[in-house]
């Protein structure tokens, strides 16, 4: 158990008590999955994707359609539902990546490639929305995909667990999240994780020592799409419907905001960003419908004054309180800033 996994475990246990309601706590965990994907891509891949909402939405429709129409021995199982959403998100991201990641290494000067990646993923978000809006037969269009049942967890044979109770479903989502966090925590500390940091810090040098930059990035992007799709599938059976807003451009933007708000200095940032965003959105939207105005100001202020996000603010506070303990080095982007340092040119 590493500190990151322990922190997540503690948060998962505390959230149903701390958050205003169990469904809100569930929503936080679901979105934390999507944010983790975006976090990985930005913090380790050095790429900002404005298209994560597309993979989230695709995962949501896939999960929703499975829950609605899945039957036979492979039907009505929450585990298959989540795996299916993950697969769909990952495959979609891999396909987009084949076009967009090629652009990253396309010989642009400076950061042209990463910028092109961002632009293309934003366009993907828009396309996915249009497609969902128009394919009313499959997605329900503007009305959304309605009456999605919540399948039970089935472990083969007679072992079935009903997820209808809010806490039961929360426990299921928590299990999925903990599994993802444990895997990601292993990944970022592995050799592959180190290679990703090397690529983020200096693409040219990493390529020169023999790393296949495009392949690493494509893998991270695929993984991030899978996480978004997984979150989407959970979201579908959580709400009992898939609203069109699950796949709109705002969804992509929300995932980016939660990622940046938390900061990419540590995997814990993803949870911090997601929890604070969702709780703030829940509280503020009841008070003032035009609260995105405040959010916009907040984002500009973060860029001005707190580029490491909440994680680095928290880490800074802890460090300030305990001056004797030097901060641990060797972590990804120790200053908590986002990749693509100005000096890191190929």
């Amino acid at each position: 158990m590493t500190p990151v996994v322990l922190t997540y475990a503690a948060a998962v246990i505390a959230l149903p008590v701390v958050a205003p309601s169990v469904p809100l706590a569930t929503e936080i965990l679901i979105f934390a999955l999507a944010t983790l994907g975006c976090h990985l891509l930005l913090g380790y891949g050095g790429l900002l994707s404005f298209g994560q909402g597309a993979f989230f939405g695709l995962g949501a429709y896939a999960g929703g359609l499975y829950a609605l129409y899945g039957s036979g021995p492979w039907g009505a199982n929450a585990i298959i539902c989540v795996l299916g959403g993950t697969m769909v998100g990952a495959v979609a991201a891999a396909l987009v990546g084949l076009v967009a990641i090629r652009r990253v290494g396309a010989g642009n000067r400076g950061h042209g490639g990463a910028v092109a990646f961002l632009m293309l993923t934003f366009a993907v978000a828009q396309v996915a929305y249009f497609a969902a809006y128009n394919m009313t037969g499959v997605t329900g269009g503007e009305n959304g995909l309605l009456d999605v049942p919540r399948p039970p967890v089935s472990l083969g044979g007679a072992a079935r667990f009903n997820l209808d109770a809010p806490l039961a479903f929360y426990a299921f989502v928590a299990g999925v999240l903990m599994l993802a966090v444990a895997l990601l925590d292993r990944l970022v500390r592995s050799t592959a994780g180190r290679a990703l940091i090397a690529i983020r810090e200096n693409e040219g040098r990493a390529a020169a020592v023999g790393y296949d930059v495009a392949r690493f990035r494509l893998s991270v992007f695929t993984l991030s799409g899978g996480l978004a799709g997984c979150a989407g599938a959970l979201y579908a059976i959580f709400l009992g419907l898939v609203p069109l807003s699950a796949i709109d451009v705002m969804q992509s933007e929300r995932i980016v905001v939660m990622t940046v708000l938390g900061g990419t200095g540590s995997l814990i940032g993803a949870l911090l960003g997601t929890a604070s965003f969702i709780m703030a959105a829940d509280a503020l939207s009841n008070i003032w419908p035009h609260w995105p105005l405040v959010l916009g100001v907040g984002i500009v202020l973060i860029v001005f004054f707190a580029r490491g996000g909440l994680w680095s603010i928290g880490a800074g506070l802890v460090q300030g309180l305990a001056p004797g303990r030097a901060s641990r080095r060797g972590k990804p982007a120790p200053d908590g800033t986002i990749g693509l340092q100005p000096g890191a040119r190929s």
Partner: protein
């Protein structure tokens, strides 16, 4: 035939509007290596500005001029207050900060006007159809094509034949060399940014009698402009023109073949272009030291 002819003209008109939006984005990226996520919001404000001034004064020309001027002023303030503080940071932060500004502007539009779409009347002089041999085509749409083409010509002249243009092209080549020659690059950035914003606002103003004004139009235009920029080659003027016309015409022709999928066809075509030519249609010719 009449149908395809008018769809082709629609596509050219749409493409010219896309060009006006995309060229500002590409200009700003070319010289400043800055991605302005708020570019779509300038287009949005151009349309809303036109709507309001038109309601007050009744004059379309005055409304367009006022909207463009107001957006240019806003861009000037934004460049000084926000952009000046973040130029030195990595592009990710440029995008985040301007995304924050986008949220502010889009929400302000919903607050000041309403989330519901607004209609802008076509100026009286330009209503009706123009007969061109056997074809009849709406006069206002023809006017858009003509005005935008004039605009493109003027821009080309500005960039290729004037001292300002030489500086812009030089700045895109190497910011350091231009500033070493004693040019105030910061001022160049400001002028460039305001010009880009004004072009986007102008596009929004021109298009408002056709599609009206609604809060989502900025995002829509931004997505298209991004695709146009990438497909045309980031920072390339001729690439933006070629990309914009291609997207506009494809979208328009696809509408007559397969209504619902029109938006998709253009995007899929662009993805194919990028698979074959990852650097875009017309990448910037020079690729010197970074």
């Amino acid at each position: 035939m009449q149908l395809y002819m008018s769809q082709l003209l629609n596509g050219i008109g749409l493409g010219m509007i896309y060009f006006l939006v995309a060229v500002g984005l590409t200009l700003v990226f070319g010289v400043m290596r800055f991605v302005n996520f708020a570019h779509g919001a300038f287009y949005l404000l151009g349309a809303y500005g036109t709507f309001t001034v038109m309601q007050v004064t009744g004059s379309f020309v005055l409304a367009v001029a006022a909207a463009v001027a107001a957006v240019a002023l806003l861009a000037l303030v934004m460049e000084r207050a926000v952009l000046a503080r973040i130029y030195a940071l990595a592009p990710t932060y440029h995008i985040l900060a301007t995304f924050g500004v986008t949220l502010i502007l889009e929400e302000a539009v919903k607050l000041l006007w309403s989330p519901a779409p607004q209609r802008v009347a076509t100026p009286e002089m330009l209503r009706g159809l123009t007969q061109m041999g056997p074809f009849a085509y709406p006069t206002y749409r023809l006017t858009i094509i003509a005005v935008a083409a004039l605009c493109a010509l003027g821009l080309w002249y500005l960039l290729e034949r004037t001292r300002y243009g030489a500086l812009v092209r030089g700045g895109a080549e190497s910011r350091e060399v231009v500033s070493l020659l004693g040019i105030d690059v910061r001022r160049l950035f400001t002028v460039n940014f305001v010009l880009g914003a004004a072009l986007a606002a102008f596009a929004g103003a021109l298009v408002s009698p056709i599609r009206g004004a609604d809060p989502g139009m900025g995002t829509e235009a931004l997505a298209v402009a991004f695709v146009v920029c990438v497909v045309g080659g980031l920072g390339s003027f001729s690439g933006a023109l070629a990309g914009a016309l291609a997207v506009g015409i494809l979208q328009s022709l696809a509408t007559s073949l397969w209504g619902a999928g029109a938006g998709l066809v253009a995007y899929i075509a662009m993805a194919l272009v990028l698979l074959v030519r990852p650097e875009g249609l017309m990448p910037r010719a020079s690729r010197g030291a970074a």
